[in-house]
Amino acid sequence: MKRDLRIKAAAVALAVAGTFGVALEALAQSNEIFVPVLVYRTGPYAPNGVPWADGFVDYLKLVNARDGGVNGVKIAYEECETGYATDRGVECYERLKSKHPVAFSPLSTGITYALTDKVYGDHIVLITAGYGRADSVDGAVFKWNFPMLGTYWDGADILVQHVKKKGSLKGKKIALVYHDSPYGKEPIPVLEELAKKEGFELVKLPVTAPGVEQKATWLQIRQQRPDYVFVWGWGVMNSTALKEAIAVSYPRGQIYGVWWSAAEPDVVPAEMAAKGYNGLALGHSAEKTNPIHKDMVKYLYDKGQGTAKSKDEIGSVLYNRGMLSAILTVESIRSAQKKYGNRVVTGDEVQWGAEHLTIDATRIKALGVDGMMQPVKTSCADHGGVHMARIHTWDGGEWSYTSDWYKSESNVLNPMIKASAEKYAAEKKITPADCGKAS
């Protein structure tokens, strides 16, 4: 009995001690810029989250190792595991806030929605490259959100443009297989708008998270025989979708995935059978031989400092995307430093930097990512900076581009963005900034 009680007492004591340990937080070094990285390396979304995280962290390490930091100021970073869950993302945000971060990349539309409200008061930039709120392009309302490189509304519009090229869409049927979450629902308003405009029928097929139950979905597709299927999935939902598509013999060439559903982890499980599957390429695909990749090997992996488990991951689709996200973050910091000086910049200053970000063709080449992105120019009215993408196709072993660059239709999207942003501003009682005023 006594031994039992001692064990119990020890457990409680440990718990109490641990509590006090938690209450103490270490502060980041004051001469480093802190960039937190919200990642998920576990759970059903890990297969896609891991390469993105590796790419992001590798680029930060590269800037420190190769360039000695951003204009001499080193970057401190810390990963925080969210498991794609909103409440864990919020907890990570709150915990890392005390270290004076300048920019967050939540890698989850759900977490972005939750953090959008908080960053107004905390003055921290949210760089949501290729995801996040589509209406946050409107910088007058969403001062701190930057959906750079492209939003889901851009992606939906571009997909429709691409399939329209194959023949008029009037009378045709397009099915949307989407993840039943804010991420998956994001393109629906645009697709419904375009369905009215182009005359096609939109069939919406939600898949409950995490998305391993899709047999019924694809049996329905087999019955309805849509001309095209758009996949808006994430994590294991993508590979399951392809497998079920194979199981109902739906032609892979008619399936188009958004840029988060068209990467190696999604097609490799199905291997050759996924041949012909198309996806949106957010500017880049699986480039492996750019100068930046060579730098990664030279400065990190040859010295054993690389984050990914093997060098093969370098240059994969999601690795590149994580890398580009980090590049945008660092360039925003650089842009801020140009105005405010080569020192540790604050959140407000990085907000200015991100809003006045210009990455032209020369800079793209200097960064070593030529051919992986289009020039970016942000402004108060356009926090996205660029709204272009193209299509790439899987041939069983590799991705290759199968289309030219598309630009999303601003006539269709801008009114929708404005309306949505105004609704948000009214709900939250935010006074939109005046973009006409120079700053």
Binding site: D4, L5, I7, K8, A11, V12, A15, G18, T19, G21, V22, A23, E25, V39, R41, T42, A46, V50, E79, C80, E81, G83, A85, T86, D87, V90, E91, E94, R95, K97, S98, T109, G110, Y113, A114, L115, T116, D117, K118, G121, R133, D180, S181, P182, K185, E186, I188, P189, P206, T208, A209, E427, K428, K429
Partner: protein, 354 residues
């Protein structure tokens, strides 16, 4: 020696039936409340408020509700996350559609909505018992998850399905900042705990416990199982719904249906089991344990200087979590509350041997 009750005589029935009949208990609880209300707002850091105290209080409210159902009435429920979601969305709809209502009223209405839904999903408990009931409540969980994801009316027709709470205004006073939110939640939870304690001490609580211990015998002596079980579901869901509304409005600010999925239900069940079934204090202890544990596990490797990847830390969290649950169940199946009670027992004599 500290906890001796000699010399404390009661001369009226009322004083004998009071909530904390022993002086030391009264002193301790009042001291704790005073500390929580007065001292903590000045002592704690922003991070402590936002990331530890506020979620701890809200989750202990939910655990309180679940404890009433599982601990006091013996009905196993795995649908708590769904009831939290009902509370959260009900509060959202009331706040957005009827903006004249004060937020406190909104929260109470949200609790009532959750209570209604709880009663509806509690009806099967009249026929089904034990694990079967647990799995039946999972039906509630998944159905509610689906309903909030699919039915646009609940989310005010937002295309993304993600809703955000309006600013917190109570009787004209705008609550902002972590301290004020903490005080708000503390006030609500204290009142709720008092109400729960008194309910469980009263006739209704005794009918719950009778149903839990031996439902056939309870029916024989005249306790109607319908009333007992459905009131348990109603009261439990009220607390859980209010906790859901608080979680969404005060802690998250912006949420989607996945925030209240089946993992949340399991988390709450863990809190209740580890804290102690059938004990109000147990709900708080269990909630504290579950809220603090992941944070400790996250910080421990860095504190000890062992570099681990976030993935490994996450996996170790899972492993330690599972191991600790098994450990607690083996070592003290009646939970942390029982340890507390044993501690108090020992304090009667300590430091004397007899």
């Amino acid at each position: 020696m500290i906890y001796r009750e000699t010399g404390q005589f009661k001369t009226t029935y009322a004083s004998d039936q009071q909530l904390f009949p022993i002086l030391q208990d009264r002193v301790f609880v009042i001291g704790l409340l005073a500390f929580a209300f007065v001292a903590v707002p000045f002592l704690a850091t922003d991070y402590l408020f936002r990331a530890i105290l506020t979620p701890f209080l809200i989750l202990s409210l939910a655990a309180l509700g679940l404890n009433i159902l599982v601990g006091y009435c013996g009905q196993v429920s795995l649908g708590t996350g769904g009831f939290m979601a009902v509370g959260a969305y009900a509060a959202y709809n009331f706040a957005v559609r009827v903006p004249q209502l004060d937020l406190l009223v909104v929260f109470i209405l949200a609790g009532l909505c959750a209570a209604l839904v709880g009663v509806v999903f509690g009806v099967p408990s009249l026929r089904i018992k034990g694990f079967y009931l647990a799995v039946a409540t999972l039906a509630a969980q998944f159905f509610i998850d689906w309903a909030f994801a699919r039915i646009a009316w609940f989310t005010n027709d937002t295309p993304s399905g993600s809703v955000s709470a309006p600013p917190l205004e109570f009787f004209g006073y705008l609550v902002h900042g972590p301290q004020e939110k903490y005080l708000l939640v503390l006030a609500i939870v204290s009142v709720a705990a008092l109400v729960a304690r008194n309910l469980t001490r009263g006739a209704i609580g005794r009918s719950w416990m009778a149903t839990r211990d031996m439902d056939v015998a309870a029916e024989v002596i005249g306790i109607r199982p319908l009333t007992a079980k459905l009131t348990a579901f109603a009261v439990s869901s009220f607390f859980v719904g209010m906790a859901g509304a608080l979680w969404a409005f005060v802690y998250l600010g912006s949420w989607e249906p996945l925030a209240f999925d089946v993992n949340r239900s399991f988390q709450l069940l863990f809190m209740v089991i580890i804290g102690g079934l059938g004990s109000i204090l147990g709900s708080f202890l269990g909630a504290a344990f579950i809220v603090i544990l992941p944070l400790v596990l996250n910080q421990l490797p860095t504190a000890l200087g062992i570099p681990l990847s976030t993935a490994m830390i996450s996996h170790i969290e899972f492993m330690v979590f599972g191991a600790l649950i098994v450990f607690f169940l083996i070592v003290e199946p009646r939970g942390l509350a029982r340890l507390w009670a044993i501690g108090k027992e020992k304090l009667r004599l300590w430091p004397f041997p007899h």
